[in-house]
């Protein structure tokens, strides 16, 4: 999956506006980026990419790029 596709997937999953994210977006600037959003992304990484992301790990992510890199 390309980074563009991953960004689209994240936007859809978190119900954000299309094209509202880029790699350099700070996670804290995403609307309603709360514990539920983080859990949603954890489940997404597992379901779509087979990667187990822990709560501890995701809390250390700063930018959207960190998530994209983790997805592989």
């Amino acid at each position: 999956m390309t980074n563009k596709e991953k960004l689209k997937l994240i936007e859809e999953t978190l119900e954000l506006e299309a094209d509202s994210l880029n790699e350099e977006t700070n996670l804290e600037d995403i609307p309603k980026y709360d514990s539920m959003a983080r859990l949603t992304l954890i489940v997404l990484c597992d379901d779509e990419f087979g990667k187990l992301l822990s709560g501890e790990q995701i809390k250390k992510f700063v930018k959207v790029k960190d998530i994209l890199d983790f997805m592989g």
Partner: protein, 251 residues
């Protein structure tokens, strides 16, 4: 001196025995002389547990209980090889945290299938004539989640609620065969699953902990209640759900 809880040479079927509550049940039953038949998907966990059990008559079966259709053949095979059961404890359960937005039909089916579907199928198969001995007692491990809502555990909570409802019906249906069936309702118990949850969501765990007057439970606390329900000491108890929750549901 009498021992009101007697398990010498009793054969108990146990699912989810590799870790946590199931493991505590296995070790306790072993100390009491029972033969244990274990079903779990975790092969290394089963091997490790088997190496700790004393006695030669235990047997473990590595099986994914998601495969509901194969359970009938598995149980028949076990009974042919090992004989009928005196008890059955269902400790297996998928407890993945999944927000509603990510709770797609396949995830619901998986969780309901393993947690509830396999329980019903194992009860159905082990309650056939000549698959159980007089005094057969079944215990399902439920959860306070079935009674107190928490975010992101919808399917898990539903599967445990389904188990408790089913147990009330099965108790009535199986009474004429003298089969008893009950559930235990644990709250937060010190298992690997709990340790992971505490690491990932410390504030949520803290909030839930405030409801448990007696602090964090240990697997042996739930195992003790399960052994009671398996034994003749509880011969007048069926269709019940017993809280082992440090006061959680009373708070």
């Amino acid at each position: 001196m009498i021992n009101p809880v007697e398990f010498k040479d009793k054969q108990i079927l146990l699912t989810g025995s590799a870790v946590g509550i199931g493991r505590a049940v296995a070790l306790l039953l072993n100390q009491m002389g029972a033969n244990i038949v274990m079903i779990d998907i975790d092969e290394p966990g089963l091997e490790k547990l088997s190496s700790e059990l004393k006695g030669e008559r235990h047997k473990s079966y590595c099986y994914d209980l998601k495969n509901l259709e194969g359970i009938e053949g598995l149980v028949s095979g076990i009974v042919s090889e090992k004989g009928p059961f005196d008890g059955f404890v269902h400790c297996v359960g998928i407890r993945s945290r999944r927000p509603l937005s990510m709770l797609k039909p396949s995830a619901v089916a998986d969780i309901m299938g393993v947690n509830f579907g396999s329980f019903i199928e194992l009860v159905r198969c082990t309650s056939k004539s000549n698959h159980f001995r007089p005094g057969y007692s079944i215990v399902g491990v439920s959860s306070v989640s079935a009674h107190a809502g928490s975010a992101s555990v919808t399917a898990y909570a539903a599967s445990k609620g389904a188990m408790e409802s089913a147990v009330r019906c099965i108790a009535k249906e199986m009474a004429n065969r003298k089969i008893r069936i009950n559930t235990v309702i644990p709250s937060q118990i010190n298992t690997p699953e709990y340790v992971k949850l505490r690491k990932n969501s410390p504030s949520e765990v803290e909030q839930l902990s405030e409801r448990q007057y007696l602090g964090l439970g240990e697997p042996i606390d739930v195992a003790n209640a399960i052994i009671f329900l398996l034994s003749d000491m509880s011969r007048f108890i069926t269709g019940s759900s017993i809280a082992v929750d440090g006061g959680f549901l009373a708070s």
